[in-house]
Amino acid sequence: MISNLINRKIFTLLKVQYSNMLEYRVEIALWAISGIIPFFMLNIWTNNNLNQSINISNIMLSRYFLCAFFVRQFSVVWVVFSFEEDTLLGKVSPYLIQPLNPFFRYFAQHIAEQITRFPFAFIISIFFFISNPESIWIPNLGILFLSIISTFLSFLIQFLIQSIVACLCFWTEKASSIERLLFIPTLFLSGLLAPVASFPGYVKSWIYLTPFPYLIDFPANLLSGNPTNIGRGFSMQILWILLLFPVFRKIWSAGTRKYTAMGS
């Protein structure tokens, strides 16, 4: 009964947010196109034969960067910017006195946006295969399923990190600046610019303790068929979610005590 009600709430939220996102389809298409950094990186890697230094073939590298593009498309998070604006303008006030945590709304917005992005990402990947026909491959169903799960877990980690940062705007008003600071390690250590395997051994051992390589590198390696430690990848993703969730709960609870409902 309770789960039915929750499901209905989430389903309706998703449905409404999806309708809303379709209103912004052009904007979302542009966002999807703007996420082609991995393809630029692929070009840099292959033109300079950098792949030889990490013993990875051109084909596997192409697949890795295509998968990195896909994982990024379905794990991109912007909650900190929406929440900051809504909090500073007082728009979050009506949501705070509804029997549903406002972050469910943002969560549904993200999922709805991902669904809207899918066709655009799919078209971009067709263009990619047209220009790189040797990279075409069909992952087996099991791997595809695990990759979807790991991409979703990656999204959850990023959503939780940004939600924690977003809650800081109860204290500092410009929490998005902190997020911009976090963007630097995310960019370099997540595998978006280079597979984590390309880092020196002692650096890698430290990187694997942070949440960053599990955001892009792990799901992209999994989907592209590059060697990766599946057990460690999933364990670390789940561990980070379990660590971040109570932090979010705590900071949310403390933050709402500080809320002054500015602008309303």
Binding site: E23, G90, S93, L96, Y259, T260, A261
Partner: protein, 331 residues
């Protein structure tokens, strides 16, 4: 006897406010050393509100009316004192409590801007655990009461302010709350839309016995909806009671415009001991205290030749405006 649904005891609220001196020097000083001070915006207030009552909160801008509403609905935490709303502590935001209240802010909206209002209504219905049939029944009932129909299917961004406000009300009332907190609900609406909204609120109160706490700068909202008002002055309550008594207290005199048969009669009346406000030819306006209005009228009718006479109540706006000019008037 009706029970108290809102019980506020010694409630205070302070905010940390940072201040900055003007100019570059002030900016640099502010960058390195922020000066903050505690500002007590609500000062030790107490009141009760009974079930089904409509209470208006009056006060100048910044007096603390909206802050009181925010604490009553649980949006912000009080610094001191206690608040109970239908037996709940609002700031704990328990689900049962949240399902029982609503907050409508005239200058804020919860409708999804790019979608028709119906989408927001259905979303709210699911948030408040209403099944589809019940949600549709309530949307129909409320849209009939609010006289909106086609507007339900037009994107919010294309609606007029009045249509949007009606839709906001519908979205906020779909769960049929027992307690309504309304902060300037008629802000920016034209006269007809204001009147319709007031009529709707009166009907809603009559039909559901809902308790309504209202702030508004439109005096018509207060006078047509509220029997009781709470005047807030600089964070404290300066008056809590019947609106009519307040009006009588603030305006103990009525004005009588007398049209005399001739100018001589008007001069005679002017010199007969009445407090004269102004005089033009054969018309004279006098001020008479409320408690001597009948004897004064008898005196005028028996002793002077008059053509016509009008008794004017001072405009409510003008009287209540006196409350808003802080400290100029002793309530």
């Amino acid at each position: 006897m009706k029970k108290n649904i809102i019980d506020v005891r010694n409630l205070s609220k302070s905010f940390d406010i940072s201040s900055k001196e003007p100019g570059l020097k002030g900016t640099i000083k502010h960058f390195f050393r922020r000066q903050t001070k505690k500002l007590k915006v609500i000062k030790n207030i107490s009141f009760e509100i009974k079930e089904g009552e409509i209470v208006g909160f009056l006060g100048a801008n910044g007096a603390g009316k909206t802050t009181i509403l925010k604490m009553l609905c649980g949006l912000i935490y009080p610094s001191e004192g206690s608040v109970f709303v239908s037996g709940n502590i609002p700031y704990r935001r328990k689900e049962d409590f949240l399902k029982n209240i609503t907050l409508i802010m005239g200058q804020k909206q919860q409708l999804i801007w790019d979608l028709p209002p119906i989408e927001s209504f259905l979303l709210n219905a699911s948030i408040y655990d209403l099944d589809k049939l019940e949600a549709k029944r309530r949307i129909k009932k409320l849209s009939d009461m609010l006289e909106i129909d086609e507007e339900l299917f037009i994107p919010v961004r294309k609606l007029s302010l009045g249509q949007r406000m009606k839709s906001e009300l519908l979205a906020a009332l779909i769960h049929e709350p027992n307690i309504l907190f309304l902060d300037e609900p008629t802000l920016g609406l034209d006269i007809n839309a204001q009147r319709n909204l007031r009529k709707f609120l009166q009907n809603y109160n009559k039909e559901t016995n809902a308790t309504i706490c209202l702030t508004s700068h439109y005096m018509k909202d207060i006078t047509s909806l509220c029997k009781r008002v709470i005047c807030v002055d600089n964070g404290s309550i300066s008056y809590d009671g019947n609106l009519d008594i307040l009006l009588k207290r603030l305006s103990p005199v009525k004005e009588i415009l007398i049209v005399c048969r001739s100018e001589d009669d008007a001069i005679q009346l002017e010199n007969s001991g009445f407090s004269v406000k102004n005089k033009t030819k054969n018309e004279i306006t006098i001020k008479v205290e409320n408690n001597s209005i009948i004897s004064s009228l008898k005196n005028i009718l028996n002793n002077f030749e008059i053509e016509d006479l009008y008794i004017n109540e001072p405009p409510v706006d003008e009287i209540i405006g006196k409350i808003l000019i802080k400290k100029d008037y002793d309530i």
